[in-house]
């Protein structure tokens, strides 16, 4: 695959404050690349710099080798941008909005009308094509805004917080649409503060905080980095003797793992190596302990994010609620 976006040491300063502090990354054609970070991390500022909506203080951006800092209008021909708030024209219908967006990219009347109808159909908005934008629900507005960004068939699609503040059904639809667009070949740059969204959609993710990229990698590699320990929870009905006796027995039998009682009915087994659950389960059964369940606890992207950025997830959740 070839590199379609290359950002090289990007800096954005407002006065003496750095909103984006020397970040570099490259994105390959056909990739879904995610920017994950809390509010104020620099996600939107980065998109604004990449799309010509903010001046770059230092650094350079290239689209397929084209220097965006020098030829922004040329670069804008191949990008579509969905901002964090729907920004179509309230008094125009869905169809009119799409046609107008096609027109400002120079599409001829027949071409833009055909494309608008196809997009309305694809985004399941055909029934609402004659309704004015103001009358759309939040989810419909979001979908039409994404459709508007696709009217000129851009090679790169920027999605800034595409599912923030909309209902669950629309979120699911939009995520499916993003996947479909990617399957059809679009390169997608996505910012989000929803960890599960980044995990589900993105091929690679950059953790960003305070204007700096903390880590860029595939979801798989980010998870592997966090999986320093393997954890198994063994849940049972009761034990025929004292808890510490069982703990001692387990330590003698399995010296490579750490065992402790998580609660009255659960033993947690920790190991730096992969844990083979069956000998432990068999041993406990032989000790007349009736086991309900033994489950391997996997590290999540959330664990990776917390570990690498030091940001508490509670803070991100509060931001979500605010939004």
């Amino acid at each position: 695959m070839s590199v379609i976006i290359e950002a090289d040491n990007l800096v954005k300063k407002y006065g003496s404050d750095s909103a984006v502090d020397n970040i570099s990354f490259s994105i390959e054609k056909g990739e879904i690349f995610g920017f994950l970070g809390p509010n104020g991390a620099g996600k939107t500022t980065t998109i604004n710099m990449l799309t010509g909506m903010a001046k770059i203080t230092a650094g350079r951006v290239f689209y397929k080798g084209l220097d965006v800092t020098k030829k922004i209008k040329k670069a804008q021909e191949i990008i579509g941008v969905v901002p964090d708030e729907s920004n179509l024209y309230d008094e125009m219908t869905g169809f009119e909005n799409l046609c107008f967006c096609g027109a400002i990219y120079g599409l001829k009347k027949k071409e833009r009308e055909e494309r608008a109808l196809a997009l309305l159909d694809e985004f399941q908005l055909a029934d609402a094509s004659g309704k004015i934008f103001k009358a759309y629900s939040k989810g419909m507005k979001r979908k039409l805004t994404i459709a508007a960004a696709l009217i000129h068939k851009p090679e790169i699609l920027y999605l800034d917080e595409p599912t923030t503040g909309i209902d669950v059904a629309s979120v699911r639809q939009i995520r499916a649409l993003i996947k479909n667009l990617n399957r059809e070949g679009s390169t997608i740059f996505l910012t989000t503060h929803y960890i599960e969204e980044a995990e589900r959609l993105c091929d690679r993710i950059a953790f960003i905080n305070k204007g700096r990229i903390i880590k860029i990698d595939t979801v798989k590699n980010l998870l592997e980095d966090t999986e320093e320990s393997n954890i198994v929870d063994v849940i049972f009905e009761s034990i025929p003797y004292e808890k510490n006796i069982l703990t001692e027995k387990l330590r003698e039998k399995f010296p490579d793992v750490e065992c402790f009682f998580k609660n009255e009915n659960t033993i947690r087994v920790n190991s730096r190596e992969k844990i083979d659950i069956s000998p432990i389960v068999n041993y406990l059964s032989s000790e007349k302990i009736f086991i309900y369940e033994a489950k391997l606890l996997r590290s999540t992207l959330e664990d990776a994010f917390v570990k690498m950025t030091g940001i508490e997830i509670d803070m991100m959740k509060k931001e979500k609620e605010k939004k």
Binding site: M53, V81, Y89, F100, I104, G106, K108
Partner: protein, 244 residues
Amino acid sequence: MKSAIAFSNILLKDMKNYYLKPPNISWGILFPFAWMLMMFMRTKSAFDIAEVFPGILAMSILFGTTSMLSVTITFERKARSFERLLLAPVSMELLVLAKITGAILFGVFNSIVPLLVSVLYFKADVANWLALLSGIVLLSVVSTLLGLFIAVSAKEVFEAQTYSNFFRFPMIFLCGLFVPVLMLPVYIRPLSFILPVTYGVDILRFSISGTNFMPAGVSFSLLAVFCLALFYISIFNISKKWIK
């Protein structure tokens, strides 16, 4: 070709969404009538049409264009739909040209009622029709660009309206509409000379009654220079303030 499609569609969208709305059309008709009535009440008689005609034309154009453009652009900025235009592969010059063309046409439309009433009803004489029509267009252009200049400074619609009035009301007293510029106190006159509308009004006076105080060629040239300067200052301001 792509630029022409973008230009015409931005213009058509603005015409449909803003300028051709019934309240604005009625504004374009009623407002000039109100000015004429005011002039009539002032003189308490059939007024000297040649004296007031340029003033009514100028005020109708000035108030219509500055209000409309500053409010519509501020409104689009607030709703963030203006960002959509900035993200399109359309040069800033073409974008600004497309945005102001609607307001210029609205300004010309605002001049139609006083023009028709004055010429057809009050039988006003027009000394130079070509100069009059050119003057109307140039005055619409410069007033529209003043509206754009205001729009770039305003964040809210009410701010745009306030700033518009802040500019317009002193302007109508200083540009020779009510009191000829040469009759103003000497220390105020420099203010009149830095106002583009002064030259627009003088062109209208030249074309209608021949009571201009500047040579018409000079007024046309200065007005054209003001238009170009305001156009490029606005582009510079938009690039600086809206693409941060």
